[in-house]
């Protein structure tokens, strides 16, 4: 019986002793790779699993987040639309109730008798007008209603109980009507001014006061204002005249000239003739100026009562003050986008605006 282990041992030792250093290094290197291979297999497995887990987690959380955002947006839209709906319903109800009441109990109704209208009745009507003007002033043309209430106040005659101090009461009602109109027009003007180009004109009342004679006075702006402040200096007068009347909005320059006449102190009205000339792209003036003639009073509301100009722009004039010395008029040139909701731009203007904003592709524009 041979003991194999004892016989082989010296041979292995002899191999190890006889091997050169390069072989030994190779053997050591191979064992390193082997170690690396052994270690890398579980590590790569763990890393892959971790990556898949992380990817799954991130993916899931991203999907959840997007879904939550989507749900929030939907909820928000739904809430907004519901709120809008309920507000519209409320406004609709309110509008129909007030307007129906306004016309049903109208003081213009002869059955009720204008002859003896109490100040309380007019006050009630004024209250309804206040509700309408403050809630629907931006989208409704309320000028005719204001005029009608003004006429009602003027025509009203006191009952026997109210005869004492009637003129004072009447004056207070007219003042209330005017201050309501000024409040609505002022609020609209204040919202338009930052979006447009404002204009301020002060007219000496005596120059345009309505009188019985055939010699009716006129105040031409800017000519008459310039004549006052630049008398004797023609060069200054020309420069001022141009600068005062020139308004530029969204790259479109216009020259606005006015003629005021027939100022009625009692009714607080005056006549206006407005001319708007527009500069063309080549710097020349368009030979077809826009011309308008209208009656200006406190019941002109800029969002509604404005002059439509080319390039979807509007010009509105407001009576800002009227006393025995001066009539103050304020104007604003503004983009049509800020006009009232009922004011729709012309189709060509809408297409131009879309082209300007680059929202139409070439084919549709062509």
């Amino acid at each position: 019986m041979h003991d194999i282990s004892q016989e082989q041992k010296p041979m292995v030792a002899a191999d190890a002793d006889s091997g050169n250093p390069v072989q030994q290094e190779r053997r050591q290197g191979k064992s390193g790779w082997e170690k690396f291979e052994i270690l890398s297999k579980p590590i790569s497995g763990i890393l892959t699993a971790l990556a898949i887990a992380l990817l799954g987690y991130w993916g899931q959380s991203a999907v959840t987040r997007i879904a939550a955002m989507d749900q929030n947006a939907r909820l928000y839209t739904e809430l907004l639309s519901k709120r809008e709906q309920s507000e519209s319903m409320l406004r609709k109800d309110m509008f129909s109730v007030i307007l129906t009441d306004f016309f049903k109990n109208g003081m213009g109704d002869t059955d009720h008798g204008i002859e003896s209208t109490s100040s309380a009745e007019i006050s009630q009507k004024l209250l309804k007008l206040e509700m309408l003007a403050l809630n629907f002033g931006d989208s409704l043309s309320l000028g005719p209603l204001f005029l009608e209430v003004g006429r009602d106040i003027a025509r009203a005659k006191p009952s026997a109980a109210e005869r004492m101090g009637w003129l004072v009461k009447k004056g207070a009602l007219i003042k209330r009507l005017h201050s309501l109109a000024k409040r609505v027009a002022g609020a609209q003007l204040a919202s338009l001014k930052p979006r447009g180009k404002p204009l301020h004109i002060e007219i000496p009342f005596k120059q345009i006061e309505m009188n019985e004679t055939a010699q009716q006075g006129f105040y031409t702006w800017p000519t008459d204002e310039v004549a006052l402040i630049a008398a004797g200096d023609e060069e200054l007068a020309n420069e001022l005249s141009l600068e005062l009347s020139r308004l530029t909005q969204d790259g479109v320059t216009r020259i606005l000239t006015f003629q005021f006449s027939n100022a009625n102190y009692r009714q607080k009205t005056l006549n206006v003739a407005l001319t708007v000339e527009t500069f063309k792209a080549d710097g020349t003036l368009d030979n077809r100026p826009a011309e308008m003639k209208f009656n200006l009073d406190y019941f002109n509301f800029p969002l509604i009562d404005n002059t439509r100009l080319s390039n979807n722009q509007r010009f509105a004039l407001v009576l800002a003050g009227f006393d025995e010395n001066t009539v103050k008029v304020e104007g604003v040139l503004f983009p049509g986008e800020f006009s009232s909701q009922r004011d729709k731009p012309y189709l060509m203007d809408a297409i131009k605006a879309l082209k300007r904003d680059g929202m139409l592709d070439g084919e549709l524009v062509k």
Binding site: P198, H200, E202, E225, L228, I229, E239, D323, N325
Partner: protein, 110 residues
Amino acid sequence: MGSKALLFLGGFMLLAGAASAAEIYGQLWVTPGNSAPVGGVVETSCGGQAEVDRYGRYRITGLPKNQTCALTIQYRNLTSNLANVYTGSHRNGANFMLKFTGERLLLIRR
């Protein structure tokens, strides 16, 4: 007693005067650029003057009511043309645009 009554009357008159006084206020900007004419001095023919602040605002108080006051501005050694402002109410807003044209300073109401 008499001096007290006189003092009261004087105080009352002062208060009444202040209540009936008017003011002109507003904003000024230089075009082109819309910069504020800082350091400019606004003056009125009705008396009173005010310096334009760094935002272009000015305010002149203690003016007579229901008067047309001619307003000018002195800025960068130039005096602008006149601009009339009527003091019809207690507070009277008047905004102006300033423009240099050659050797002139134009004051344009806006």
